[in-house]
């Protein structure tokens, strides 16, 4: 009985290598940061500010992850968000002034949010159509749309920043419910729903299968084109949610926001155990990677270290995790070999 339980645990660790190493890294990073700046890092206000910064990048990382799972990539996540944010901001700006309150303002806010999400869905649809039906490789298709969406954003705003929205809209990015930031709640719900979809729904299974072997998936009767369309729709939608949070938090929208996030989202996904060639990866790993990177950047920021050191430290950690994984893999092979000879 006990033996089989032990075997089960061992087996789980083998199959979820990232999920086994990441908590370890998480604890080390947390301990390190708390040790280096105990008075500032372990403060409630620090956690509050981390909780406000984290959801945006997290949603972008989720939008990136779903496409990586199918063996694709979505380079347009950031510009999709900017363009949808601009449309929403234009609606808010046209029909409201910053001091407006009341039911009509709330209705206009809802309209702006719906419009943003609708735009993000359309942009995702364009990506999906190019990749699934025209047959363009994901990296090229989304590179083209990345430039196009960025261009549309610049053409609409003429490079200006659209800012100052009504208070009720700002609540989404900066407000709290029982001390928990609204944005964080939005992220938690999104991440939870996505992990459910990936683990329980046929669509989720199909994305993993396409990422492992698209040909075989097609021959086993899965509607590959349909699944790919849905994948990029979902990716666009997640970008749309991120855009609302971003617009609200910055109290402005612009074509150039968040451009440095693009490679960071890939970094978070990969650190979280998502295979960049598709087929493998879990939301839980991604969330842990996200928290690790947030601890590092907030901790170092509190210590007065510049953002650039943080960037290089992220890179170093990713390399170290790859090294650790490689070591564990080798040791596993050695154990298997021993088993054979014994």
């Amino acid at each position: 009985m006990w033996k089989s339980e032990k075997y089960k645990i061992k087996n789980w660790f083998r199959n979820n290598r990232e999920l086994a190493t990441l908590p370890f890294v998480l604890v080390v990073v947390f301990a390190l940061m708390s040790g280096l700046a105990p008075s500032r890092f372990l403060k409630g206000s620090n956690f509050q500010s981390m909780a406000i910064q984290l959801p945006e990048v997290g949603l972008f990382a989720l939008a990136m992850m779903i496409t990586l799972l199918t063996g694709g990539i979505n380079l347009s996540v950031i510009t999709t968000a900017n363009l949808s944010g601009i449309i929403g901001a234009l609606i808010l700006k046209t029909y409201c002034t910053p001091t407006d309150t009341g039911t009509i303002t709330v209705l206009i806010m809802v309209l702006a949010i719906v419009a943003s999400l609708a735009v993000s869905l359309v942009l995702g649809l364009i990506n999906g159509f190019l990749i699934a039906h025209v047959g363009v490789s994901a990296i090229l298709a989304t590179l083209g749309t990345m430039t196009l969406y960025d261009g549309l954003g610049i053409a609409i705003t003429k490079g200006y920043v659209i800012s100052d929205f009504p208070k009720c809209f700002l609540y989404i990015g900066t407000g709290t419910v029982l001390g928990v930031p609204v944005a964080l709640l939005v992220f938690i719900v999104s991440a939870y729903l996505m992990s459910l979809i990936l683990a329980r729904k046929p669509f989720g299974l199909s994305t993993y299968m396409i990422g492992s072997n698209e040909r075989a998936t097609e021959f086993s009767g899965v509607n590959v084109k349909g699944v790919l369309m849905k994948t990029y729709l979902l990716s666009g939608f997640l970008s749309g949610i991120a855009s609302i949070i971003m617009t609200s938090r910055f109290n402005s929208a612009n074509a150039g926001y968040g451009s440095s996030y693009l490679l960071v989202t890939v970094l978070i996904a990969v650190l979280g155990g998502v295979d960049p060639f598709g087929g493998f990866g879990k939301v839980s790993g991604l969330v842990m990677a996200l928290v690790i990177l947030q601890f590092i950047s907030s901790g170092l920021n509190l210590l007065g270290v510049t953002a650039f050191v943080t960037i290089s430290l992220w890179g170093t950690i990713l390399i170290m995790v790859m090294g650790l994984n490689n070591y564990l893999e080798k040791r596993r092979f050695r154990t298997i070999k021993k088993g054979f000879s014994g």
Binding site: L130, A141, T147, G151, A155, G159, L267, F308, L313, I319
Partner: protein, 339 residues
């Protein structure tokens, strides 16, 4: 019959459609603005795109081997900054050191990439995204983001050297820049390496099937080392050229252009999965991007709309290529069924 077979073979190549797109665009552009199709404008494009062209050659070689390098912009930035720092602060620098130092740095950083990829047994895309962040972050930290300018006179005069001397109707002299010559030399050398050396054939073999290459006794580490060091070397050379063109060196000037270069190469028919791709295609890919950007400027398209057009043209040209590939695949399947 002979010619028909030749044309058929030609039509099966990806590059030819890219060429059609470029020719079509050029005709349209020269109707709108006759200045487009002048030798002067061509030389000008070749000069300003030598930086991107050289990087594209390096990226092609990496893609052929089945790898990918995202970090080459950071690599080039580090090489360029060190060179510029020495040029501005040490007057003893001469032209040989100015060329040698960035190249050595580029090769060294490329070597680090190759070693990490091989010894950690990790996907190149992850390693090079990490090293991109590490190289760039460290450089920004050390340099404090400071811009460098005021280069020695010879450094300022060097990019003005040209080979063919011509005079345009308004009496202003122009010519084929030395920077373009460097690009051409690199392309020819790379062509030779890929086509006529065992190393070049090994790169293709490894990209086609790494496992098969390993089992037939190829030294994977050696090939990877060459490929990433070569990319680093070209990043070093390209960084010199960029510094010569801009005459100011900022630690963030080259950053963010990595995807544009990779896109040009993939647009030129190189496969991200490795093993297939050609120098001709790569040059055409770079030409397409150069034609679009230059054409939009000549057509006086408002700078606000430039990215819209660039995006649309990229989407259209990759769609044409994809649809054409699909059509070929369908024809092949049909033959299989008939037999």
């Amino acid at each position: 019959m002979e010619t028909k077979g030749f044309i058929n073979r030609l039509l099966k190549r990806n590059e030819i459609y890219l060429l059609f797109v470029i020719i079509g665009l050029s005709i349209m552009l020269s109707i709108v603005n006759p200045n487009f199709l002048t030798l002067e404008n061509l030389f000008d494009i070749l000069r300003s795109y030598s930086f991107m062209g050289i990087l594209a050659v390096g990226v092609l070689v990496v893609l052929l081997s089945g790898g990918i390098d995202i970090s080459f912009t950071a690599n080039a930035t580090v090489a360029q900054y060190v060179m510029a720092y020495l040029l501005v602060n040490h007057l003893k620098m001469n032209i040989f050191l100015a060329i040698l130092i960035p190249c050595v740095i580029g090769v060294a950083l490329g070597g680090i990439n190759a070693s990490l990829i091989y010894f950690l047994n990790a996907p190149p895309i992850i390693i090079t995204i990490s090293t991109l962040n590490v190289y760039f972050g460290v450089l920004q930290f050390v340099s404090g983001g400071k811009w460098l300018y005021n280069f020695p006179v010879w450094f300022r005069n060097f990019p003005k050297v040209s080979v063919i001397h011509l005079v345009n109707p308004e009496g202003i002299p122009y010519g084929l820049s030395i920077l373009t010559i460097i690009w051409i030399v690199i392309v020819v050398c790379t062509f030779f390496i890929l086509r006529y050396t065992t190393l070049g054939r090994k790169i293709y073999a490894m990209g086609g099937n790494t496992e098969a290459a390993k089992r037939s006794g190829l030294n994977v580490f050696q090939i990877q080392m060459f490929v990433y060091c070569f990319m680093g070397l070209l990043a070093g050379v390209a960084s010199i050229i960029q510094a010569l063109l801009a005459q100011t060196v900022a630690p963030n000037a080259i950053m963010g252009r990595e995807l544009e270069v990779i896109a040009a190469v993939v647009l030129g028919g190189a496969s991200l999965a490795g093993g297939s791709g050609s120098l001709v295609g790569t040059l055409l890919g770079v030409s397409l991007i150069a034609t679009i950007t230059n054409g939009l400027t000549l057509m006086r398209v408002s700078s606000y709309w430039q990215n819209v057009f660039i995006g649309l043209i990229i989407i259209i040209s990759v769609s044409i290529t994809a649809l054409q590939r699909k059509a070929v695949a369908r024809r092949v399947t049909a033959v299989d069924v008939e037999e």
